[in-house]
Symmetry: C2
């Protein structure tokens, strides 16, 4: 198939049937075009999530909207300790979108699903008139199974726990912003988009009872997620600015655009809160994983409580020796980053 997407590709009729049968179903290995998939028996605690992706531009250094949509949903499941199993994919496509670009996006979704060990089992295609969406939007939902005994969450967080990040922060957001602004860097910026289920599983295997909480700092960045964790746990968390990994090119780009890398989105980074006595074991397991090579302990849960008024506080001990309060992202710093 080639050419461009027409309104008829969303009609429910012959053109849509052909688009799905020839382009989408083969890429995802779907054997049935029924509206719902029968996935056979499942036993266990079910995890379930959804995310829509509206990133602009659709193709950016290090990835595209398709693999972002697969990895993002895989990661949301992984952060509650689930093993991701099945995904759905819903496409909203602007009339006139190139079928070649759609093929590239679908192919990278298939590849990302394969790398994460999940199957895309159901899909949907809608087409809207030119000017009624921005090229292509993709929704993915995902289900996974939470292994027995796994229970992650803020309530388990206690003073002394270590805060670990799995890699340099701000790379995804800066890669998209650089592309949008026509900036280039040497070495080039690249999105960190990656599936984190393998990394999360290796951490839970290394210290099943000591990993207390996982989160992926996407929109809002590291700072927003740390503040959310502090609020949810009702604790005070202090990060050491010196310990937070940021690539030089990301730091340079942020300086240029007036952004704070701690508030810039990540798509292949996780934050873990881990019992102090297991922090080294977990860190070592993370560094052995391809997506955790640059993991670092970046902070601690303080003995001092979070404060009744705020219900949780996040602080940054700066390189300059001062202390800065980290709050939720205010306003919209980086629109349509995912």
């Amino acid at each position: 198939m080639d050419g461009r997407i027409l309104m008829g590709h969303g009609s429910g009729g012959r053109m849509m049937e052909r688009l799905i049968r020839e382009l989408i179903a083969p890429a995802f290995g779907m054997t049935s075009l029924a509206d719902a998939a029968d996935l056979g028996p499942i036993n266990g605690r079910l995890a379930y999530t959804t995310d829509s992706y509206v990133v602009s531009p659709v193709f950016f250094p290090g990835g595209n909207i398709g693999e972002l949509a697969v990895n993002g949903t895989v990661n949301d499941l992984s952060m509650i300790g689930a093993a991701p199993r099945f995904l759905t994919a819903g496409f909203i496509i602007e009339e006139g979108f190139s079928i070649e670009d759609l093929s590239r996006i679908v192919a990278s979704m298939a590849k990302a699903a394969d790398e994460a060990g999940v199957r895309i089992v159901a899909g949907d295609t809608k087409v809207v008139e030119r000017g009624k969406c921005d090229r292509i939007f993709i929704n993915t939902s995902g289900v996974g199974v939470i292994p027995d005994g796994i229970s992650l969450g803020p309530k388990r967080i206690a003073p002394g726990d270590a805060v670990i990040v799995s890699g340099p922060v701000g790379s995804h957001g800066m890669a998209v912003m650089a592309e949008r602004n026509g900036l280039s860097f040497s070495p080039p910026l690249s999105s960190d988009t990656a599936p984190l289920n393998g990394l999360a599983a290796s951490m839970l295997e290394a210290a099943p009872d000591s990993v207390k909480m996982l989160r992926d700092p996407t929109r809002g960045g590291l700072a927003t997620i740390i503040k959310e964790i502090a609020v949810d746990a009702g604790r005070r968390i202090t990060l050491q600015e010196r310990a937070i990994p940021v690539l030089p090119s990301v730091r340079g780009g942020c300086d240029l655009l007036g952004l704070d890398p701690l508030y810039v989105a990540n798509e292949g980074v996780l934050v873990a809160v881990v019992a102090a006595d297991a922090a080294d074991a977990v860190l070592s397991a993370m560094r052995s994983h391809r997506f955790g090579k640059h993991s670092a302990i970046i902070g601690t849960v303080d003995a001092e409580a979070g404060g009744a008024e705020t219900g949780g506080k996040a602080l940054l001990a700066t390189i300059a020796g001062g202390t800065r309060i980290l709050d939720l992202l205010t306003g919209e710093q980086l629109p349509r980053i995912c």
Copy 2:
């Protein structure tokens, strides 16, 4: 909350947190704002589906995009015999959309979920700049459990089987088209949007082994779905035009706009293929259900095979005494009907 949606409502930061905490989570009864939901143990055959909704206008006679999104996904699960259990909801909202309209949509999603007996357990909110989408798009995905012994599908279809429709066709599509074209009818046209899980369950209960296949004729309408069933089964199906229920106002609207009601979308109608000897029992069960009162036997699976070249054929015995071939919908008759 009032006012309009701003880009910050999709930021991942403070404004988004407030929108979800104050407007979306309470409506859906969500107790956690985590990215993925832990749904506890599930045992059984898993059914899984997704659909995105881009209907224009967002509010139409008899419903809105929100209840359509819930009912549509409930229905996709019901058509493979599953009992729908959990839904996700992903919102893509245009900057400037009214928060009051969003509240109305979310409230009708909650009401529809309640009526169908499903829980909306996870969600996502993205905001795009003005002009980058058309007011609001909603994706829903759904999981359900298929009871033991249920196996619906075209392979079970055999000559002599009856084809039953659960109600008048074309109402949803014509209600949307009438609204779009500023037409009014007396009595007024109204979408048929409805959850079909209860109706499907009552049919399977009445004749568990004799209901062979269910489909809901949404985009493409009744004719497209009958052709698809014929192709999938490799059989010839003949419908009796005289037996197909169409409301007079829908027929009038179709005449006015030059549309064929058999190709107009339905959102609360199902088509069943049922063994001949159980057809009356199933019909009677359907007519006892609030969404099946006007059910009718509209055709049969013929003794003659579907034909090797076509791999399945659908015919319409017309009121005038002729025979018309029913094919898949060609082109795009009714854009953005769901």
